[in-house]
């Protein structure tokens, strides 16, 4: 069985994101980029399936600018077997990404696709759901545990009320939540070996996918600054402030 894991190149989670001065987006020039942390969790989950003998091959796919190759290399250094890079302009939209993934999945024939529940740059939380709808596959989002059965999977989901376990038929689209696992470090020998693993390159046109944007960004603004907190002396003062300043009671 093959497992396919899409990996997105995003601004590193330790970087303080800044809005461009013209308000068209966020600054990415000279900013450290890394694999979306939820996708690292996806790779880890796929590697564990392989190590448990449930999967034979782990394929990492990235869609975006040429430098996404570095993101794929990171996945290969963690242990993925090979990569696919679909080169596009910056800012591919979730629907276009889902369509590209569908085309690759039809070629590769994986039985499990593990995506991040969201990417930390645009927080869309859409691609996995759209992909499963396009493919007509089972869908298990926000996974915190994956147990494979015979042609099925028991997947624990993190939902508002707690945990929910669902049984789905394979093939399935899974999206990862933070607690699914702790991604491993890429080891020095594996980093060196990753150089030799193959990465297929293609374009959306090769896959027959139309990338025309359907969304328009009107403006991007910084979140308003948080005011510093104050210490109050007494319960009376607290109640007074909640009532008259915060106006919440």
């Amino acid at each position: 069985m093959k497992v396919l894991v899409p990996v997105k190149r995003v601004i590193d989670y330790n970087v303080k994101v800044r809005v461009k001065s013209d308000g068209t987006g966020v600054e990415t020039a000279n900013v450290k980029m890394s694999m979306n942390p939820f996708d690292e969790i996806g790779i880890e989950a796929a590697l564990r399936l392989k190590e448990a003998g449930s999967a034979e091959e782990v394929i990492a796919v990235s869609i975006g600018v040429a430098q996404c190759q570095e993101t794929i290399r990171t996945a290969l250094a963690m242990g993925a077997d090979r990569g696919v890079l679909v080169e596009t302009e910056e800012g591919a939209e979730p629907l276009a990404v889902a369509k590209i993934l569908k085309a690759i999945i039809e070629k590769e024939g994986p039985e499990i696709v593990i995506l991040g529940k969201q990417a930390i740059d645009d927080d869309s939380n859409q691609t996995g759901q759209m992909l499963s709808a396009l493919l007509g596959w089972s869908q298990a989002t926000f996974a915190s545990n994956i147990e494979l059965g015979d042609g099925t999977a028991d997947i624990t989901r993190e939902v508002d009320g707690g945990l929910e376990t669902i049984k789905v038929k394979l093939p399935v689209v899974v999206t990862t939540d933070l607690r699914l696992n702790e991604p491993r470090y890429a080891s020095l020998p594996n980093i060196m070996k990753a150089k030799k693993k193959p990465i297929d390159k293609m374009s959306p046109a090769d896959l027959g996918v139309d990338m025309t944007p359907r969304l328009k960004t009107l403006s991007v603004v910084e979140p308003s600054k948080r005011e510093g907190g104050v210490k109050v002396e007494s319960v009376e003062e607290l109640v007074e402030k909640l009532r008259n300043e915060a106006k919440v009671i």
Partner: protein, 402 residues
């Protein structure tokens, strides 16, 4: 006119693999090391054995357990640049000067052990890589460390199947806490204008006639004095050729200089980055400190000097990895790296004002430790001497005076 070939070595870029290794070490420092370090006292010299064992486990899984080990014993060839990249990041912690990543990444045995016999390698070398054994290097003596060939006064005399050692070693780091050390002694006096002969011996603390005494210094990790009074060393503990000690000491020193400088640069970079965060939020007369030109110039000078220092390290390390003689370049990067790092940390302290010298911050500890780095493994003046001699030897006056 002769002029040393400058070589086509400018415009250095790191490979994607090295960048990935650096990212992995950064994550390791942030996620594993920092939380443990936060609980340690300011001048701690190590974390608890349990924490260290856990950190080592992770570092070993990352493949960082066998740096500076030859391929026959599980390491890889030509890893000087890798060691520099790793050491720069691993030194970005409070204990970074002398215990990068809190000891997670093994120091490994002194590299000269790999030039020993099979028995020596298996008895002393491998257990430093696979077990908890540690070793040290004892070169310096009370007579001085700058000119080891002549300063080494400890005498080794062969008696039967033993060597008898008499003399004293000074400032030897780890000596009293290690399982063995490589100690250099004079085995033959100078003759007919030929320099004295130096031989390397592997010594153990249990050998008769050896004792250790701590020497309190500016850094919390105190070095030792070693006293040898008719110390008996078995014949099989001669390391390398009799009379081959000087070359061996140099082999160890030169290989260590690039990672040594890289570690200093790591601490200084962290200090500068900390200071940048501070001056942007520190109110000062009509504005914030970051808006003052005096502050900006300190930041600019520090950034430029650190970039230059780092390039010199990469350059020397890459030369060494290519198998070229990097002795002079190693002196260049050791001199500039340690001097720059001290200056930058001093400026960072200045920008922090009183907070800079508070023990709440790692800065004052780094300054103390960096002070030693300008003396240890060759004082700056000795490196200047090496560089100047080489330059003078190879340069006769340029176009107008040649």
């Amino acid at each position: 006119m002769t002029c040393e070939d400058e070589g086509n070595h400018y415009g250095f870029t790191l490979s994607d693999e090295l960048i990935m290794i650096r990212n992995q070490v950064r994550r390791f420092m942030r996620e594993e090391v920092k939380p443990i370090e936060d609980k340690l006292p300011h001048d701690a010299t190590h974390c608890s054995p349990e924490d260290e064992a856990r950190l080592r486990g992770v570092a070993e899984d990352m493949g960082l357990g066998r740096l500076n080990v030859p391929p026959e014993y599980g390491g890889q060839d030509n890893d000087c640049l890798i060691r520099c990249i790793v050491n720069e990041e691993a030194s970005k912690c409070r204990l970074g000067g002398y215990r990068p990543a809190l000891g997670a990444i093994r120091r490994g045995p002194p590299n000269v052990i790999w030039r020993g016999t099979d028995e020596q390698i298996h008895k002393y070398g491998i257990p430093c890589v696979e077990g908890d054994m540690t070793g040290y290097m004892a070169i310096t003596e009370p007579t001085g460390g700058s000119d080891p060939r002549n300063n080494i006064q400890t005498r080794a005399v062969k008696k039967g199947d033993k060597w008898i050692l008499n003399g004293r070693k000074m400032w030897i780091t780890y000596a009293g806490d290690s399982d063995w050390g490589v100690l250099f002694a004079r085995s033959k006096e100078s003759e007919n204008g030929r320099p004295p002969e130096i031989t390397a011996f592997i010594i153990e603390p249990s050998f008769p006639g050896i004792s250790f005494e701590k020497i309190p210094v500016i850094r919390p990790l105190y070095p030792y004095e070693i006293v040898l009074e008719d110390c008996e060393v078995p014949e099989e503990n001669v390391l390398g050729e009799i009379g081959g000690g000087f070359g061996m000491a140099e082999h160890w020193l030169v290989a260590g200089r690039m990672p040594y400088a890289a570690g200093c640069i790591g601490m200084a970079q962290e200090a500068l980055d900390m200071a940048c965060g501070w001056v942007k939020q520190r109110d000062s007369q009509r504005g914030i400190l970051a808006d003052k030109q005096a502050i900006q110039w300190m930041i600019a000078d520090s950034e430029v000097e650190l970039q230059a220092a780092r390039m010199l390290v990469y350059e020397a390390a890459a030369m060494s990895d290519r198998g070229e003689n990097a002795k002079v370049h190693a002196s260049v990067c050791k001199l500039f790296g340690t001097e720059t790092a001290f200056r930058v940390v001093d400026r960072a302290i200045q920008m922090f004002g009183g907070m800079g010298v508070a023990q709440e911050m790692p800065l004052e500890r780094w300054l103390r430790e960096l002070r030693i780095k300008r003396i240890g493994e060759g004082p700056s003046e000795v490196h200047r001497m090496v560089i100047a001699r080489n330059k003078l030897k190879n340069t006769d006056g340029g176009v107008y005076f040649g």
